[in-house]
Symmetry: C2
Subunit: 233 residues, 2 copies
């Protein structure tokens, strides 16, 4: 391996579109473009960068997909504020991800729910607590496992909503399909997702307890999953 | 507002590239393409979809940027396993994000660090604990605020590394530049990031304590930030 002997890193091969994507990003930053600003026309950008219009269009198309720019009717393209989750949405697809990434993301879910107590106690409101109450009642009436799982998903989704953190809320929505494989796996391996602390216990602490109590209760609620991580080591 | 009276949702305007992006994604899924599989040639895809080669190239370019497909020399394009963080990397740019998203992401950081205790205790190893020890010694010798901040960042980065969760580790790396504005803001407003629990306390608990103790110690360590969230309500 000559490269290794010489200690030289192999060059990263960039396509023309990669290069123009990079240059355009740099250009917008250096020229101080802000959200709402109109971009130069495609033909002008192509001339400035010394490349074909096709490759400029390709790079702009990438920016459009990420929500970094937007086409405005009769005006042209303007810079926008991208949503951090838009790009994530494109790849957080159970079909595309491998098993390791899916397990990583499931662990991330546990970490988020164990860590959200303080934010929950700052942002909780009566309407959301009542919503949790309703879900608990519905869960008690559930007639089969599927209905129960749906109530469980709903209960935890409301917790994310209660954080008031839009990025976190969107993140959880995108992750739901990824978790399906974990639910399947755990079902096959007889892992119950019910710890010794129930949804009514969690709600009671949200109403009358402290972030410290909620954190420890959530750790007990998620214990079967946490034990599974330990056992898999 | 006629639309509202009629109760009709406005159509989402899709460009040709958006449509081809969608159709291609569906095509790959339905045909059961797996990572490593060779894609049909551009011209074949254009014919199958009844669109021009240019627009197919544009859609493929988007997939390439997200790491969903890869060009292989002399073979063509193959499907790959995208890294969940690649897409995120493209937009998690302090220049592009607005203040709300940056605050959301900073809150996310607090939530992650408050919630990672169980995973840390499962994956911790002596080498990483020794590394934390070294950083603490370096921090004690720090001669100015900048050196101290760098040690702080290093200490918390090692905690992420200790989770062994690659997605989480990459996520934290990408978020570091986003946090700079928070550090600046808090500096201006006299918010110290030092709670009553220090890095040596945290290390001691990691060596001799429990996840429960670590969670509560981390909450105290991050208390100034958590109080700031409370005050901003």
């Amino acid at each position: 391996m000559i490269k290794e002997e010489l200690g030289i890193e192999p060059l990263v091969v960039q396509t023309m579109a990669d290069k123009v994507e990079e240059s355009l990003g740099k250009y917008l930053r250096e020229k101080g473009f802000k959200a709402g600003d109109l971009l130069p026309r495609e033909v002008e950008l192509a001339e400035a960068l010394g490349v074909s219009r096709n490759v400029v269009r390709e790079a702009l198309s990438r920016f459009k997909m990420l929500g970094i720019i937007e086409s405005k009717k009769k005006r042209g393209m303007v810079l926008t504020v991208p949503k951090v989750t838009v790009a994530f949405e494109k790849v957080a697809d159970p079909y595309l991800l491998d098993k390791v990434s899916k397990n990583d993301l499931f662990e991330l879910r546990l970490i988020l729910e164990l860590g959200m107590a303080n934010v929950l106690f700052v942002r909780k409101n009566e309407a959301d607590l009542d919503l949790l109450e309703e879900i608990i009642e519905k869960e008690a009436r559930a007639e089969n496992e599927m209905e129960r799982i749906l109530c469980d998903v709903e209960f935890h989704s409301i917790l994310y909503k209660m954080t008031g953190n839009k990025t976190l809320i969107k993140f959880q929505k995108l992750l739901l399909p990824v978790f399906e494989h974990v639910v399947e796996y755990e079902g096959e391996h007889g892992i119950s997702d019910r710890g010794t602390v129930s949804h009514p216990d969690l709600l009671d602490i949200l109403r009358n307890g402290s972030p410290e109590e909620f954190r420890e209760a959530m750790a007990k609620h998620l214990e079967p999953h946490l034990n599974h991580i330990k056992a898999a080591q």
